[in-house]
């Protein structure tokens, strides 16, 4: 009954390997092959070998720029809002209510992001917050279909992904360290900066990573709250495959996006690994 370990290992790895090959390697290879092709006569793809698609990437510069500014900005906004909340939950909240409060952070996540974004269309639209501000005599700003609206949608959509990892790392933190610092007369800000913040860095790194990766491929929030005016690379891809039907150029844009992500994420991981003290499980989970 006992199998030779080598065969067992091979057998255990085979399904995952086959899955990766069929659903990851093959599709990405097709994308790479198509990215050197041409637009078909009625749209789609026609075989060819040309670098034109890559040379034409400049025409999507705005989309790349928007993504590369909004993704870090959105990540930062999530972090700034999530950290104090995670702190409150881990350090201050009544232990009896902590679980409930934690779950309440994630409950909105259970309604589709589509419905939640739709609610924001109403809230940020003329009959929502702007009319409220107007009634209060604070002007009547246009909010919907602006980068600000997209940012609100991003924070709303991704906040729980940031709160949880930070909460977990703060929760694990040995509170006696903070008490000891307090006993030794260290001011609160210094205690925070020298003890709590460095020790919660793994959670911060994980949260930022998760949010950043998801934001780089985002297309729904800008489509719904940006009115087609805040265009991400994801929106450019949807347009190229589901509207303008240029599979070849679309493939080049997709390849470029993956490359940009490989570079930024790898750089980020190098950076945080040094920062968070060499733990290599930090960035991914």
């Amino acid at each position: 009954m006992t199998m030779r370990p080598r065969y067992r290992t091979a057998l255990f790895l085979a399904p995952a390997g086959a899955w990766f090959l069929a659903m990851l390697v093959l599709p990405l290879l097709v994308v790479i092959v198509y990215s050197f092709g041409e637009r078909g006569p009625a749209g789609g793809y026609a075989p060819a070998f040309t670098l034109d698609n890559y040379l034409n990437l400049g025409s999507r510069w705005t989309a790349f720029r928007n993504t590369l500014t909004m993704a870090p900005l959105g990540t930062l906004a999530c972090l700034v809002i999530a950290y104090p909340l995670a702190w409150f939950l881990a350090m201050r909240a009544d232990a009896r209510w902590r679980t409930l409060l934690l779950v309440l952070v994630i409950v909105p996540f259970w309604t589709s992001i589509l419905i939640r974004s739709y609610a924001w269309i109403f809230l940020l639209g003329g009959q929502g917050i702007p009319s409220l501000l107007n009634a209060l005599g604070l002007g009547n700003p246009r909010l919907i279909n602006t980068p600000f609206a997209v940012l609100v949608g991003i924070v709303y959509g991704y906040l729980p992904l940031m709160v949880f990892p930070i909460y977990v790392s703060l929760e694990r933190l040995d509170k006696r360290l903070l008490e000891a610092a307090d006993d030794l007369g260290s001011p609160p800000m210094r205690r925070f900066l020298q003890i709590a913040l460095p020790l919660s860095m793994p959670g911060v790194a994980t949260g930022c990573m998760l949010v950043f990766i998801l934001l780089m491929g985002e297309f729904l929030i800008p489509a719904m709250l940006g009115g087609g005016k805040v265009f991400f690379v994801g929106n450019a891809l949807v347009d190229l495959f589901l509207q303008s039907r240029n599979w070849a150029f679309g493939s080049a844009v997709a390849a470029a996006l993956v490359l940009v992500m490989l570079i930024t994420v790898t750089a980020y991981m190098r950076f945080t690994r040094r920062w968070a003290g060499g733990r290599d499980d930090v960035a991914l989970m």
Partner: protein, 271 residues
């Protein structure tokens, strides 16, 4: 601090309140309130497409989570005893699978499968005996499950591996010294230790698939998952039916949560 937390919870729940409010709208529009009515709840519950989309989402989420958890756990276990190039290759694949944006996975899967099917279907049709219509490969359950499971599987491998890394190895050695078979050791020592990781991986996989719109949007073919149904309802012009669906899902989860919390509290007080 408390005030700050309250503000964040308000931010989180005001849109939810808006959704719930318009679910009770008597009018057809989801933005102009025209009186109170519960008709949309009935409409949502009796709409066969909503129920079917729900079933499709459930099936896809369950199947992809089960497969991803199984294949991912097996791979994580096997990767312990693998080194060199194979290990590097798997590490790279896991890294890429987690990092490539969903939208690229969706598009790449779509064009790859369309291309493959365009070649495979005629061959199959030609090979099919007796002139009857041959089955055709097309996008649907298969592509949804496999495309969703890909990311999930990478996630499961990462989580289970972290769990294995944190495992107490001396227990395994002790078990082997005491003469347990490898299977016995696995079942009695390894599995209980890595099980929380497997469960977490399964739950994450399920949630990811159940929620996913972007990948499904490209690879669902003629199948409609719940997020796709919601998307097309929004494009059709939102009626409060969508609000009703969202509200019901939330209400059920909230009631379950609060009951659970209440029971826990009572149990604790007694103890």
């Amino acid at each position: 601090m408390r005030l700050y937390a309250l503000a964040v919870y308000l931010f989180l729940y005001i849109p939810i309140a808006v959704i719930a409010l318009f679910a009770f709208n008597a009018g057809r529009h989801a933005s102009q309130f025209e009186g109170f009515s519960t008709q949309w709840f009935g409409k949502a519950l009796s709409n066969p497409f909503v129920m079917e989309a729900f079933r499709t989402s459930l099936t896809v989420a369950l199947a992809s989570a089960v497969l991803a958890t199984l294949c991912g756990t097996m791979a994580a276990l096997a990767l312990q005893s693998v080194g060199g190039r194979l290990r590097a290759a798997f590490d790279a694949l896991i890294y890429v699978a987690v990092m490539v944006p969903g939208i690229v996975i969706g598009i790449a899967t779509l064009i790859a499968l369309v291309t493959v099917f365009n070649w495979l279907n005629p061959v199959l049709a030609a090979l099919w005996p007796l002139g009857a219509a041959a089955p055709q490969f097309s996008l649907g359950y298969g592509s949804l499950i496999l495309a969703h499971g890909l990311f999930s599987m990478a996630l499961v491998i990462i989580i289970v591996r972290a769990r294995i890394a944190g495992m107490d190895r001396s227990l395994i050695e002790a078990s082997a010294d005491l003469g347990a078979t490898p299977w016995g050791t696995f079942r009695q020592v390894t599995l209980p230790q890595i099980f929380p990781g497997i469960l977490a991986g399964f739950l994450l996989s399920f949630t990811f698939s159940f929620d996913d719109f972007i990948i499904a949007f490209f690879v669902a073919g003629s199948k409609t998952t719940l997020p796709i149904y919601v998307f097309s309802s929004i494009r059709r012009g939102v009626t409060p039916e969508i609000n009703a669906i969202g509200t019901m899902v939330l209400a059920v989860s909230l009631v379950l949560l609060i009951t659970a919390q209440g029971l826990l509290q009572r149990g604790r007080r007694r103890a």
